[in-house]
Symmetry: D2
Subunit: 342 residues, 4 copies
C-alpha cells in the first residue's frame, strides 16, 4: 500500500532531505509540496539534485487539496508551523519538523521562543518525536513534534544514563559540534562559504541555545527532578553532522554497559566498542547514530560521544521513522541507506 504524502516547506534543506529519502521509500508517494516564496516552480529548479524525480509543482499551502493525503510533513520555519498546523484537517496525521511542538509547557515555549504559543491545545496533544524513547506514543499519535537536531544528539548520549542513575546529574557538560546545514538555507553572512570554511567557533555560549529547552524538559522528566546541563554548540566547516562530546561523572564501564544494553535492539543506534570514538563522517547521509564511551585518566569521569547526521537522524530521517510508525509500516522502511563516505 502506498501512502499519500504532502510536504509543507519543501524548499528548505529538511524539505529536500524528506524528498531524497522518500524517493526510494517503498510505501510513500509525494502528492503535494508547498514552498511559499517559490510557489509555481518545479523542485528541479529549487533543488537540481532531485531533477530525476517526478514531483508535483511547488505551490502555496492554501492551494493544496488535503483530501486523501495520509500524512503531512511540515518543514516550515519555527513559529509559523503552529498556525498552519492548527488549520490542517484534524484527521490527517502530521509530523512537524519545526520547534513549535517540542516543548509541552506553554511557559517553557514562551521563555525559549519569545512569545505565546498559537495552538496550545495541539501543543498538549503533540508527541515528542525521539523515536527510540516514545515509540508507542508515536505509533498512536496524530501529531508528532520532531526534535531539535542538537537535542536529539545529546539525548542519545544521555537518556539511558539518566534513567539508570549512573551519572552525576549536576555535572553534565555537553560540548557540541554541528555542521552548517543545521542553520538551514538562510541568507546569513556567517553562513557564507568564505566566512565559514577553514574556521570554527562557539555560538550561543553560556546556556542560551533553544535546544536547552528540550534538554531541560526531557532530562527532568527522566530524573524526576530538575536537571540542567551545560551546553555549548560550535559551528564546524562541514555540511552535515553533529558530534556531541558529553563530559559526565560516573563509572565509564558501567556507562558503556548501560548504553550497550539500552540500544541493543535498536536498528539505528550503534554503540561502539568501549574506548572507540565515533565520527560524523561515518553517519553522513544516513539515519544512523553512533555512540562511543571512553573513561578518563581522572577516575570517575567518562566521555560519551554521539554522532549523527543533523538532516537525517536529526531531522528528516527521524521524521520518516516516525511516519513509518504512524502509518503502520516497518519502522526502518526506506531508511536503511548506508552512510555516504567519503
Amino acid at each position: 500500500m502506498t501512502h499519500k504524502i504532502a510536504i509543507l516547506g519543501a524548499s528548505g534543506y529538511t524539505g529536500a532531505e524528506l524528498v531524497r529519502l522518500i524517493a526510494t521509500h517503498p510505501a510513500m508517494e509525494i502528492v503535494a509540496m508547498s514552498a511559499d516564496r517559490k510557489a509555481g516552480q518545479e523542485m528541479a529548479e529549487v533543488f537540481p539534485h532531485l531533477r530525476h524525480l517526478c514531483l508535483p509543482t511547488l505551490c502555496k499551502i492554501e492551494e493544496i487539496d488535503f483530501w486523501g493525503v495520509d500524512l503531512c510533513f511540515c518543514a516550515l520555519p519555527h513559529a509559523t508551523s503552529q498556525a498552519v498546523i492548527r488549520e490542517l484537517p484534524s484527521d490527517m496525521k502530521v509530523v512537524d519538523l519545526s520547534a513549535d511542538f517540542r516543548l509541552r509547557d506553554p511557559e517553557d515555549y514562551a521563555r525559549w521562543y519569545g512569545g505565546a504559543h498559537d495552538a496550545v491545545e495541539l501543543q498538549k496533544e503533540a508527541v515528542y518525536g525521539l523515536t527510540e524513547f516514545y515509540r508507542e506514543d508515536i505509533r498512536n499519535a496524530r501529531l508528532v513534534a520532531g526534535t531539535g537536531c542538537n537535542a536529539a544528539t545529546g539525548q542519545y548520549a544521555l537518556r539511558p544514563l539518566i534513567s539508570a542513575g549512573v551519572i552525576d546529574l549536576d555535572q553534565i557538560i555537553l560540548d557540541l559540534k554541528c555542521a552548517v546545514s543545521g542553520a538551514g538555507r538562510s541568507l546569513k553572512e556567517n553562513l557564507l562559504h568564505a566566512e565559514l570554511s577553514e574556521g570554527y567557533h562557539a555560538y550561543a555560549v553560556g546556556g542560551t541555545h533553544r535546544h536547552l529547552g528540550e534538554f531541560d524538559q526531557e532530562f527532568s522528566v527522566l530524573a524526576g527532578r530538575p536537571v540542567k546541563v551545560q551546553f555549548t554548540p560550535h559551528l564546524i566547516p562541514a555540511n552535515r553532522g553533529i558530534l556531541a562530546t558529553v563530559y559526565v561523572q560516573g563509572d565509564a564501564k558501567t556507562i558503556h554497559k548501560v548504553l550497550r544494553d539500552s540500544y541493543a535492539q535498536e536498528p539505528f543506534v550503534e554503540v561502539l566498542p568501549f574506548g572507540q570514538a565515533p565520527s560524523t563522517r561515518h553517519v553522513r547521509g544516513s539515519n544512523f547514530c553512533h555512540v562511543g564511551v571512553t573513561g578518563d585518566r581522572i577516575e570517575g569521569r567518562a566521555i560519551v560521544i554521539a554522532a549523527l547526521d543533523n538532516l537525517t537522524k536529526g531531522s528528516s530521517g527521524q521524521a520518516i521513522q516516525n511516519a513509518n510508525l504512524m502509518l503502520g509500516e516497518e519502522e526502518t522502511s526506506g531508511l536503511m541507506l548506508a552512510p555516504c563516505f567519503p
Copy 2:
C-alpha cells in the same frame, strides 16, 4: 532471487562504494570480500560507516570459495587485476573496476600502462562497460571492464556528437575537474587534507593521462577514423565529483538536440534545458549524470558540460548497473538513490 556476490579489493573507496550500494540492493548478497593487507579485519574497522551491515570478514583472495558465487566485482589496483581475474573460475561473471581490460589492443595497453598485458585472451573477450553504449554486449558478457571515471564523463558529453557527426573532430578540448576520491585511498603527500584543501591545480597536463587511451579507442571507433582530443584534468578540493567542460565546434542547438534525443530514454543521464550548466554537487552519491549545453558568443562554438560522481556513475554504480544486466535484473535495480545534497 538473490545473487551471491564477491568483492575483491574491498578496502578501497570503490570497494566501499560497492558495499554501500549493495546494502540496499534488493537482489544482491555479499558472500565474500577480500582485502589483501587487511585480511582478517572486519569491514567495520576498515570503513566504520558500514558497521551496521552484516558482512563477511575480509580475507585473502585465495581463501575465497567461489563455488556458488554468481558475480565477482574486482576492485583491485591497476595491473594486479589481470593476473587475478585470469585465475578465477571461468564460468563466473566478473565486473572489473580496474583499468586492466579497458583497452582492447594489447599495444595500446602497453603504451598507456607501460608493460605487456598478462591476460591477452581475456582482454579480447572483455566488454567495455559504458552501459548506455554497450548495453547488449554487457548483457551477454562474462567479463565487463569498468571504464575510467574521467573517461566515462567525457564520453557522456561527446559520444552522441561524434556519432552524429555534428562537431569538428579535430578541435575537441576537454578541460576536466575531478575530486580527490578518484585518486583512491592511497598515501600520497599531495592527497593530504592540508595539501589539497583550499587550492587546485592541473595535473597530467599535455596529454599524458591514461584515460586518453580510452578516449582514443572509443572515439576513433565511433568516427571511423583517428580522433585525438586534448584533455587536461584538474584536482579540486572536494571528495566526489567529476565535471568535464568540453569545448567543441559545431552548432550549439543541434548539439543540444542530439544529446537530448540520444539520452531521452536513459534512466541515469539527464540532459538539462539548453543554456543550463550542471554541478557535481547535484549528482553526489548517485548514479546520475547531468549534461548541459550552451552556445558561445563566438559563432560555431559550443560548451558541453557533463557532471557525475566518480565513485558511483564513474565506477561502482556503473559496475552494479552492468552487473544488473549480466544477472538479468532491472538495470536500475538498487541504483535509484537520490543524490545527497547538501
Copy 3:
C-alpha cells in the same frame, strides 16, 4: 614618509584585504574608512581578524575630511564607484577597485555593464591598473582602474604571447577556475557554505562574463585587430585563488620562452620551469602570480596556466602595487608577504 590613506567601502573583502596589507606597509597610514551600512561600527566588529589594529571608526563617505589624504582606495560596488569618485577632490590620487573605469570606451561600458557611464571624462583619464604592463602610465596617473581579477589572471598568461605574435589569435580558450571570495561578501544562496562546498560548476557560460570586456579591449589593442577569446569561469569550493587554464595554438617551447623573457625582471610574476603546472594554494594570501607552460601531445598546441590570489594580486594587492608607484614608493613596498600555505 608616511602617506595618508582613505579607504571607501572598507566592509567588503577587498576593503579588508587592503587593511590587512597596509597593516604592515612601512609607508602607509589609514586615516579614514567608510562603510555605508556599517557606519559607526569599529572595524573589529565587522572584521574581527583586524582587531589588533588601531583603525578609524567606519563612517559614511560624506563624513570624511579628505584634506591631507594622499591617496584614496575606492572598494565600492560596481556602478556606485563612478558617482562617488566624480565628487572626490580632483587633486587626490585614487585607485578604484571596482569595474567602473576599466573599459575606456563608453559604448563598451554600456554593453557590458548595462547602462550609461556617469563620469565619462574620468573614464577617459583612468589608467588600466595591470601594473606590469601600464607601469609608467600608472606612475603618473591620478586615477587608476583596478582590473577584474579573472581578467588579470588571463592577461598574465596571454599578453606577452599576443604581443609577440606566437599564438593563433582566433583559437584561444580560457577555462578559468575561481574561488568564492571573488563574489564578495554578498548574501546569495549559491554562496552559502552548504551550497558551495563539496561541489563545483561553470557559470556565465557562453561568453557572458563581464571580464570579457577587458579581454576584448586589451587583447585587441595588443594585436592591432579584434581578438575574441572564449572564456568560461567555474566556481570552486575554496576561498581564495584563480587558476586560468589557457588553451592556445602555437609552439609550446617558444611560448614558454616568451613568457620567461617577458617576466624575467618582474618581482611578482614567476614563470615555472617548462612542463610544471602552478597551483592556487602556492600563491594564497600573496601578491605573486605563477605561470606554467606545457606542450600537448597534439602538435602545435600548448597549455598556459596562471594562478594568483584574487583578493591580493587580483585586487587589493594590485591596488597597493599601483598606489606605491603613484606615491613614489618602491613598487614592492609592503607586498613581499610570502604565501600562506598550508
Copy 4:
C-alpha cells in the same frame, strides 16, 4: 644588524612556516636549511609557495657549517631533536620546536614519550617557550623549548586564572578542536582529504594526549599543588587553527577581568569583550591569540575560549617571538602580519 639563521627540518610544515615568517623579518637571514630525505632539493620543489625567495639548497645536518650561525631553529620530529641538539655548537642559540625539551622532569618525559631522554643535561637547561610567561628566562636562554600547540592554547586560557586562584582546580575541562596541519606533513590514512574533510571526531580521548604532560607540569607549578585537567582534542576539517573551549567553575566576570588585566600589555594576546567568542578564522596565519569569556546559565560556571593558529602562535611564530628575545630584537619583529581572512 642581520642575524644568521639555520633551520633544521625545513621540509615539514613548521619549517615552512618559519621560512614564510622570516621572509619578511627585517633582521633575520636564513643561511642554512636541512631536510634529511629531501637533501639536495631546492625549497621551491618542496614548498612551491616559497619559490620567490632566495634560499639555500636543502642539505643534510652534517653538511651545515654552523660557524657564524647566530641561532638555529630545530623543527625535527619528536625524539630525534634531542640527539641532534646535543651535538650542536654549545655557544649557538637554539629554539627547538619539537616536544623533546618541554618537560623538565626526565620521568615525566619517559612517561609521556615512552623512553629515556638522550640529553638530560640539556633538558634541565631548556626554558619553556611560552613567551608571555617566561619572557625574562627566554631572553637569557641558550636553548628554548617550543610548547605544544594545544598546550599553548589551553595555557593562554588558564594560566592567569590558576595563578589568581579564581577557579576550581579540580573541575577544569578542556575540549579542544584542532586543525589538521598540527599533525604535520605525514602520510597517514586519516589525514587524507577524502578521509578528513566533511567530518570530525575526537581522538586521544580519555587523557592520553601527550600535551597533558605540559599541562600537568605548568599548572601544578602555578598552583603549588598537583593539577590535572580533563583534555579531549578533536580533529576538525580545516588546515590551521586551534580552538580550546575550557569549562571552569568560578565567577565569569572575575575570570574575564583577570584575563583582561593579565594580557593588557601583551602585543599578541587579545581578550575580547565579555560574552564574545573567538574564532580560529580570525587568527589564521598570524601570531595572535584571541581569548573570550562567557558566563553560563548555571551559576558559578564560565566558559573560556582561546583561539590561535597552531603553525604560527602555536609553533613557528612563537619560535620567532622567542628568537627575537634571545637575539635582542624587538619581541614583535617580523610578527605583526595581520591574519589572512577569508
